[in-house]
């Protein structure tokens, strides 16, 4: 084990869905309390706090009754889950902090958040310039990418359906998932178009919920209540040039870079992975991630998923919680928690047998890759 290895020692989640009696602070506190209970640590042990999506770090720490030595707050963009986790590991590795609490709270559903229209701020500075043409929403941005992928590689709606159907099947095995009723191809194809070629079931679910993780050094992690799960590798790569428009390469260059760097840090390869957690804001993002990270050749992801590889019991079970598409859109955070729970063996009927390593991948203008392991080396 590396001298300054880091580990997740606590994870906490709330219920997901429509929770109007909770604001983002309350959801964050709910998740953090669960994460601390899970780790056997207390509020007084936290010496660093990284807040995501909750509006105000001061108010959060006030209600948490903590005065950490380090605090920061990050925008409520899904790409920030990995950025925050990477930052937490860097704080611990450097010796700057001992125990980092990462806290995410999202009351978007009850607050009526919409990802499109006059308040849309997605993309590079937002889409205001393009509103007169009706261009708005992250969904449309991904629809443009999906259309090009279909044109270039022969990807079909049936390929996208396979992702949606598979993750819904997994959600059926997760009591905390919001959408658990099985769907089939007819159900997928029959769902209304939102932004063609994407249909309703290609979109993730805006919900209320909270997630928290506790990260500390591998050395400190040894004394904790549960088996520590090691963060063996983590890498980020931004793709901001001309990012007003979708990337010509579907983020492949960045995805390749982060996958290679994080795997090299971990001393592992794709062949060592027991499961994948893929940022699934929209179904096409899963395709771009599989190709960019090298799980299949560029252009082959549609056929790859159609062969069923992402299902439980198959080679690369993915988003075993149901993911953003069917568990809840917790902006990457809940997928990282699912990685930890799989590696601890806590996933009951959706448990991946003998899970040893899990790869989290996010394709976005900040591409990220995290390799979690049951073993320290």
């Amino acid at each position: 084990m590396s001298q300054n290895a880091t580990a997740v020692v606590g994870v906490g989640t709330t219920a997901y869905g429509r929770l109007p009696e909770h604001d983002a602070y309350s959801l964050g506190m709910w998740a953090l309390s669960n994460a601390l209970d899970d780790s056997g640590l207390g509020f007084a042990d936290i010496d660093a706090v990284i807040i995501n999506r909750i509006p105000d770090y001061q108010r959060f720490c006030e209600v948490a009754g903590i005065d950490p030595q380090f605090v920061t707050i990050t925008p409520g963009h899904g790409r920030f889950a990995a950025i925050c986790i990477d930052m937490a590991c860097a704080l611990v590795r450097s010796g700057r902090c001992n125990t980092v609490a990462l806290v995410y709270g999202n009351n978007g559903r009850s607050a009526g958040d919409a990802y499109g229209g006059a308040d849309d701020s997605y993309g590079s500075g937002g889409n205001g310039l393009w509103f007169p043409y009706g261009m708005t929403s992250p969904g449309a941005f991904h629809a443009l990418m999906a259309r090009r992928h279909m044109q270039m590689f022969g990807t079909t709606p049936e390929h996208l359906a396979e992702i949606s159907i598979t993750f819904r099947r997994h959600a059926g095995l997760n009591p905390n998932a919001v959408m658990r009723s099985p769907i089939d191809l007819d159900g997928y194809l029959g769902a209304r178009m939102i932004c063609e070629p994407l249909r309703l079931l290609d979109y993730c679910l805006i919900n209320d919920g909270g997630v928290a993780l506790i990260i500390t050094s591998a050395e400190r992690a040894r004394d904790r209540a549960k088996r520590p799960i090691y963060v063996r590798g983590a890498a980020l790569q931004t793709v901001f040039a001309e990012s007003t428009f979708p990337p010509d390469d579907f983020w492949y260059g960045a995805l390749r870079s982060v996958s290679q760097r994080s795997m090299a840090q971990a001393g592992l390869t794709r062949d060592d992975m027991s499961a994948l957690m893929i940022y699934d804001n929209f179904t096409p993002t899963v395709l771009f991630s599989l190709e960019g990270a090298g799980y299949c050749p560029v252009g082959e992801s549609g056929r790859f998923v159609a062969e069923g590889h992402l299902g439980l019991g198959r080679r690369y079970p993915a988003n075993t919680s149901g993911g953003h598409l069917s568990e809840s859109y917790m902006q990457g955070w809940a997928l990282n928690v699912e990685a930890v729970r799989q590696l601890r063996g806590e996933c009951d009927v959706r448990q991946v047998q003998d899970a040893a390593n899990v790869h989290y991948i996010a394709a976005s203008p900040v591409c990220s890759s995290i390799v979690y392991s049951r073993d320290p080396s």
């Binding site: 499109g116 229209g117 006059a118 849309d120 205001g128 310039l129 393009w130 509103f131 007169p132 043409y133 009706g134 261009m135 708005t136 929403s137 449309a140 629809a143 443009l144 990418m145 259309r147 090009r148 044109q151 209304r192 178009m193 939102i194 932004c195 063609e196 070629p197 994407l198 040039a241 001309e242 007003t244 428009f245 979708p246």
Partner: protein
Amino acid sequence: MSETGSRPLPNIQGPERPFWEALRNHEVHVQRCACGHYRFPASRNCPVCHSADFTWISVEPHGEVESYCVFHKRYFAGLDVPYAVAQVRLACGVRFFANLPQVPISDIRIGMKVTAMFERVSDDVTLLQFRPMENAQ
């Protein structure tokens, strides 16, 4: 933005003001850096060489549809669905989102050669739209 019920209108007084003014004269103006890089939307400095030395310049309004999507969900009260948005790249390399008002949605194709058309939506605002090259006058 516009009042509820009509098409959203752009802020024509912002950094892209020369672009909107040129459209009223049926020209497409974008920024060209001293280094030769063309850019839009507007920025003070060139993202390639970082120079602040630029001019707004008229460019050949021909390009190609790189991709498109079709909105079925209504996000703006003033825009009837379904409508298509195309991602168009001009020969100079600059890209725009726009509509293809003369093209039935089912006829839109990636790789379509298009040229600018100018859609006057108010006394002050003319939008940059595109139509197929074949129909160019």
